[in-house]
Every structure is written in structure tokens, then in C-alpha cells.
């Protein structure tokens, strides 16, 4: 490189300037507390579960945290990269949902790092619906894996991890109960959705999702949905053939916005579901709140566009 | 203060027709010779020109004056250099100017087209009564038709009627080296080494 730089004095000065900036930046590298187990949750709900189980013995970094962030448009930053670089345990969703994680991990190889990839844990394949956290049972299994891993790394506190795990599973009970109750009442109820985010829970509730799958994927990918499908979904709403309209309130694009208008106009109750865990809620509270919203919509026709 | 036609100099004037140094016209431009020439009439006015018989007649007249009627409806960009040059001149004529400035109109033209253009310009200045300021590097095609010459060379100038300026001793002094001026019959030829 110096060979090229010799051509110009201005160039040399500029290059040394860049070097100076780089050095300056080097002085303020992040400090890491070495007494704790470093963990990363690729999404904030996985981070939440790690926190609940590890308590004060872990330090947790969540990557997708902003309920207004869409993983499609996430650009990795250095904070996230350095957290991954120093992590002992990483929990990620996989199935292409957080492909940036595999890149960050490859960029910072670390011996003895454990990665829990939910997609792999459940034997799913790329192309399957990646929104595993809406699938009842997922987090119980993930929590077990986290507790085991923490106990292995820190046997002294193994009992505490196990107790926390059990407490976490208990905290999920109201959600599981709500699902069971709602399923008895509303099995087979027709609903419309925009994106596949909530489909695992919807299926667990026995709801009949009337929106064509290819329409859901087109909206998810920002592609142009077919006119026949737009028209089918429009008819579902305008004729009130569905009892509720479920949309991803984190990414509202023209198609969703238009259908949302239509649902409000036809007084079909709408439910805004979250792709990422909303602030001020635990995973269990969030999941329960979503099912409650469905219950409210189907029972009394009330819309829940935002969780409190 | 410099005055032109008894007026102070300002940007943009209809009284001066201007033919710029030949610019390349995009061969794909959707513009006929006729439309191109039409800009000379009202190109600087806002809006678009409405079809009018009078306007069309004026454009046709300008085209006839430069002998460009034959290709008036062909796309400008696809015409030859000499043909385009005639259109440029017709365009400059349309504003009914008192002075026409031609900046190197003969560059890039073959000998036949160049002498055609000179003939056209000479005819126009007589028929339309305009002053023509003709900038050129090669004086020879113009010698017969010029009234006055401003001969610029090596930072010096010689001004005057043709027979006073285009002489061996005047030009040789101007250039600082020997220049031949040869008379062949009625014609005068300047030979610079």
C-alpha cells in the first residue's frame, strides 16, 4: 500500500490522519466484566429468558430489541459485534431470521462458545416459518438448554439456575391455560392475517387462517401480492367473513395500511401483534397479552392495536 | 461604456443572431429541422408555441433563405454537418437581427460545404441587410465576400478593409514571420508557413 501512497504528499498526510482517528478510537474500547458469564440473545425475547434464568450471574446483550425494528432491515453495528465476540453463550432463532448472527459469529471465532439455535433445536429447515417464539413449548425447551449450559459453566450456582428455570416455566402457565381455554371456545374461527408472524400461536388456538400463504409471504418480503389474493383478503374483511384481523404492527406498509383501514371500516376487530418483545413486559406477559387480545376480539369484538 | 446598436450590452438580445461553434446534436432528438429553426423566433419565451400559419410561413421563409427546405422535416440529429450549419444560420436569422455572429461556422466542414455556407451568408447579408461578424481560422474562403477584416495574431491586431490588411507586408509584420499573399486571377490566397 505504501507504494501507492508515495505518489502524493497529500495522500500521506491524509493516511496518517486516518491512522490517528483509528488510534483515538482504540483507546475507548468497551470494558467487559470478567466475573460474569457473557451471553447474547439475538432477539430480546431470548435475552429476556437468559436474564430470568441467569439472574445476576450473567450479563446479557440483546441485539434485536427495538419493537420498531424489522430484522429485514437490520444493519449490524460494532456494539453487537463486540458482544458476540466476547459471548460464552448465544441464543439465536436461526432459519434465516437472524442470518446476521452467523456472520458475526464467523467474524469472531471463539473456542468454547455455545450457540443455541432454536431452528436447529426443533429440527426445522430453512424456508419454514421462523417465528418460533410464538410456538407454545419453544421457550420451555430453550430455557432448559440455557439452564443446562449455565450450570455446566458455573456449577456452583447450578441450583439457582434450575430454580429460576422452574419459576420461568411456571410463569408460562397462565399463557398455556389461556390458549387451552380459548381453543375450546374458538376452535375453527376464521381470521385474517397480513404476515405469518403470529401463525404458530393462531394454529395452537385452532384458528382458521383464511389469508392465502403466498399473500402473507409477499407482504413479509415487501413484494407485490397477486391481485386475486388482495381481492380475496379484501372480500374476507368487507363481508365480515372473518372474526378478526391480525397484523404485524411493527411493519405497516401500504398493503397492510389499506387492509387495516378496511377492517376498521367494516368493524372487524383488529389485533396488532408484536414481532419483538414490547418494553416493560416479560416474555410470559407478552405472550399472554397477545392471546388475551385474541380472546377480547373474538368474545366482545374489541380491537387491540397496541399493548399497553 | 460599450454600446452595441446604441444600447448598453446585456445578456440575451434579439437584435444579435448567434451561431455557436458547431455542437454535436444528439441523433435521436425528436426534433425536425423546422422545429429547430423555430427556436430562433421565440425559443426564449415560456410555454409552448401554438400552431400558427404566420409562424410556419416565417420558418419556411428562413429555411428557404438558407436553402434548407429539402430537409426541413428530417430529424436534425441525422443531418450532415453542412445541412445542420444552414439550420443554425436560419435559426439565427429568424429573430430579424441587426448583427449576426458566426463562431467558426466552417470548422468540420468539407470544402464544398464551406463555400456553400459562405455563399449563403453572403447572400443573406445583402438580402436581409444585416451585419455579419464571421469568426474563422481560415480566411481564404471569405476573402471575396468580406468588407473589413480584424486580423488577430500573436496578441496583435490589424483592422481595415480587405485590400489594406490582406497584404504580404501587413500580415508578415503581424505574425512576426513571412506570409505569402498570392493573387491568382481575381482570387487572393493567404499562405502561412
Amino acid at each position: 500500500m505504501t507504494v501507492t501512497l508515495e505518489h502524493t504528499h497529500t495522500g500521506l498526510r491524509l493516511a496518517s490522519l486516518a491512522g490517528a482517528v483509528a488510534l483515538l478510537a482504540a483507546c475507548s474500547a468497551a470494558k467487559v466484566d470478567s466475573s460474569k458469564i457473557h451471553t447474547v440473545g439475538a432477539e430480546n425475547f431470548y435475552a429476556d429468558v437468559i436474564t430470568q434464568i441467569g439472574g445476576s450471574h450473567v450479563d446479557v446483550h440483546a441485539i434485536l430489541t427495538n419493537p420498531n425494528t424489522d430484522p429485514h432491515s437490520y444493519e449490524s453495528n460494532t456494539t453487537d459485534a463486540s458482544a458476540v465476540a466476547s459471548a460464552d453463550l448465544i441464543v439465536e432463532n436461526g432459519l434465516g431470521y437472524d442470518a446476521f448472527m452467523q456472520k458475526l459469529e464467523a467474524a469472531s471465532p471463539r473456542a468454547g462458545r455455545t450457540i443455541i439455535n432454536a431452528g436447529q433445536v426443533f429440527g426445522k429447515h430453512p424456508g419454514d416459518d421462523p417465528h418460533l417464539w410464538y410456538l407454545p413449548g419453544t421457550m420451555q425447551r430453550i430455557a432448559q438448554l440455557i439452564a443446562d449450559e449455565l450450570s455446566k459453566r458455573d456449577p456452583a450456582n447450578a441450583k439457582e439456575y434450575e430454580a429460576n428455570r422452574a419459576k420461568f416455566v411456571v410463569s408460562l402457565a397462565p399463557w398455556m391455560d389461556a390458549i387451552a381455554t380459548a381453543k375450546r371456545k374458538y376452535q375453527g374461527t376464521p381470521v385474517a392475517v397480513t404476515e405469518p408472524v403470529f401463525n404458530y400461536t393462531a394454529s395452537a388456538l385452532g384458528l382458521d387462517i383464511r389469508t392465502p400463504v403466498s399473500f402473507q409471504l409477499a407482504v413479509e418480503e415487501g413484494n407485490d401480492p397477486a391481485p386475486q389474493e388482495v381481492s380475496a383478503v379484501t372480500t374476507l374483511l368487507s363481508t365480515k367473513s372473518v372474526k378478526s384481523f391480525i397484523y404485524n404492527q411493527q411493519t405497516v406498509e401500504p398493503t397492510t395500511a389499506r387492509l387495516l383501514d378496511l377492517a376498521r371500516k367494516s368493524s372487524v376487530p383488529v389485533i396488532g401483534v408484536y414481532e419483538t418483545q414490547p418494553a416493560g413486559m416479560t416474555y410470559a406477559q407478552w405472550m399472554k397479552a397477545e392471546v388475551d387480545a385474541v380472546q377480547r376480539a373474538l368474545q366482545s369484538g374489541k380491537s387491540t392495536e397496541k399493548l399497553p | 461604456m460599450v454600446k452595441v446598436l446604441d444600447r448598453p450590452v446585456r445578456r440575451g438580445s434579439k437584435l444579435i443572431g448567434y451561431v455557436s461553434q458547431r455542437t454535436v446534436v444528439d441523433p435521436e432528438l425528436p426534433l425536425r429541422g423546422r422545429d429547430f429553426v423555430g427556436f430562433g423566433l421565440d425559443g426564449e419565451k415560456w410555454g409552448f408555441s401554438l400552431p400558427s400559419k404566420q409562424r410556419a410561413a416565417q420558418v419556411t421563409e428562413a429555411l428557404r433563405a438558407v436553402g434548407a427546405l429539402a430537409y426541413a422535416d428530417a430529424p436534425v440529429g441525422k443531418l450532415s454537418g453542412g445541412e445542420q450549419q444552414r439550420l443554425f444560420i436560419a435559426q439565427a436569422l429568424l429573430s430579424d437581427p441587426k448583427i449576426v455572429l458566426l463562431d467558426e461556422p466552417l470548422s468540420n466542414l468539407d470544402i464544398a460545404s464551406a463555400s456553400e455556407i459562405v455563399k449563403v451568408v453572403d447572400g443573406l447579408r445583402r438580402s436581409h441587410g444585416v451585419t455579419v461578424l464571421f469568426v474563422t481560422h481560415d480566411i481564404n474562403p471569405l476573402i471575396e465576400v468580406m468588407d473589413r477584416v480584424i486580423y488577430l495574431a500573436a496578441g496583435r491586431a490589424a483592422v481595415g478593409p480587405v485590400d489594406q490588411v490582406v497584404r504580404e507586408e501587413v500580415l508578415s509584420k503581424l505574425y512576426g514571420y513571412h506570409v505569402d499573399v498570392i493573387r491568382v486571377g481575381d482570387r487572393v490566397v493567404v499562405l502561412t508557413p
Binding site: N66, N68, H72, S73, E75, N77, P212, S214, E221, G222, N223, D224, P225, A226, P227, Q228, E229, V230, S231, T234, Q250, T251, V252, E253, P254, T255, A257, R258, L259, D261 | G12, S13, K14, I16, Y18, S20, Q21, T23, V25, D26, E28, P30, L31, R32, D35, F39, D42, G43, E44, W46, G47, F48, D73, A74, V76, K78, F88, Q91, A92, S95
Partner: protein
Amino acid sequence: MLADPGVVQALLAGVIVAALCGFVGVFVVMRRQSFAGHAITDVGFTGGAGAPLAGLDPLAGLLAFSVIGSIVMARLGDKIRERDVATGVVLTASLGLGALFLFIQTRYVSQPAALLFGSIFAIRSGVLLTTMVVGAACVIALAILYRPLIFSTVNPETAAARGVPVKFISTAFLLIMGVAVAEAAQLVGVLLTTALLIGPASAAITFSRRVPWAILFAVIFGAVQMTLSIFLAYASYTWPPGGKGWPVSFFLGVLALGTFVIARFFSAGDSRRSESNEA
């Protein structure tokens, strides 16, 4: 198919955008500013994404950014070669800002792909009206600029000598184009807008001898291509592999390129003939 209100809405929007783009596109192609025409859509979207962060309406941000972007492009790029770089620099800056807005907040930014492809079959009726008003304003503004704009495109030096404010005209043109194109893009997406802006106009120009005809042809080509694409997209639902509507962007992209190639093929034959006549 025409019983489907979504399709009717799409046809209406498509034809309106095609007409607007055809009109503006003739000037864009004549002035060789296709890059600016495409880039300004991205610039506009960055504004649309940033506006909510400042508590403003996305449409205001879209218009503000396309206006600022066009002015900066015009100021930076006088000569043709500079223009290319000027457009590139403005595009770079706006994509960078877009990355920042995405970082702060993505709800209104939505996915890059959604902005690219748009969703012509799901247009809200209110948006259509705004586009028509803004589009009509752009067409009127261009009609006012018409003569000096063409004059200074064809023959800038003579135009300047005749008192045409060449620099002002080129800035004003970029500005009008920016507003028209950004507005069209938020209705039907970047891809359809760019294809409609450049395709029909460049095909029309290859064999028109007059600007008004070129505009007329461009509008007709655009409207036909758009209508055909919507029909094909509708029909393709039953094509193999079945139950998958092929996107309008695909049909229009291919039709726009195809029409241009065919038009150029014929005009190439045409110009060879006229050359041999001269010889």
C-alpha cells in the same frame, strides 16, 4: 377481472403514473438524466423515512428531500460528466442517511424491497388523488418551461445568447422531475416508476421527429405497457406453478426493455436507409 376493485384501482393508478412518467420521461431522456430520474426516488424515500423522526408527515419529507436532492444535483452537476457523479454523490448521501434512519426507527421506513416493488394492487384511494394533483401541477409547470427547456437542451449556447436562463431552467426541470417521480414512486414503487419514466420515452424518441409526438407516443406506450402488465399479472395467477401471481414489476420491466430494443432495431434500419440516400 374488472369486477375486482383492486384491479380497477391499479389500472387507474398505473395509467395515471404512466402518463405522468411518459410526459416527464421524454425530457429526461432527451436531457440524458435517466440516472437522476431513478436516483431521486431513493432520495425521496429517505426523506419519507426521516420525516416521522422529526414528527412530520412522510409525504412532506418525501417532497422536501426530492426538492433538496434535485437542487443539490443541479448545483453540483453542470456538465454532462459532472452530472453523473453529482447524482451518484447525492444518491450516496441519501442512502447513507437512509441507513441512519433505519437504525433509529424502521416502522415507517419499511423494508427496502417494499419501496422497490411497491404494491400496485393495494393502493389507498386518497393517495391516488394527491398523486393526480401533484402530477397535474408538474405537467403544467413543464408546459410553462416547454420551449426554453427544449431550446436549452438542444442548443444551450445559443439559448443562453438569446437570454434563456439556462441554469435556472435546468434546476427547475430537475426539481419538477424530482417531485413528479418521487410522488409516482410512493404510489407504485421505484421499479415501476423508473421503468415507466425511461422505457416508453426512449422508445418513443427513437422514431418520433417531433417532441409533441414523442410525448404522445411515450404516454401511449406507457399506458399500454402498464395495462398489459396488470392484465398479465392477473392472468399469471393460473400459470404454472399455479396459485402464484407473477409480479407486475417483472412484466413491466421486460416489456419496457423489449419495446425499447424493438424500437431501436427499427430506427437503426431507418437511419441506415437515410444515410445511404445521402451518399
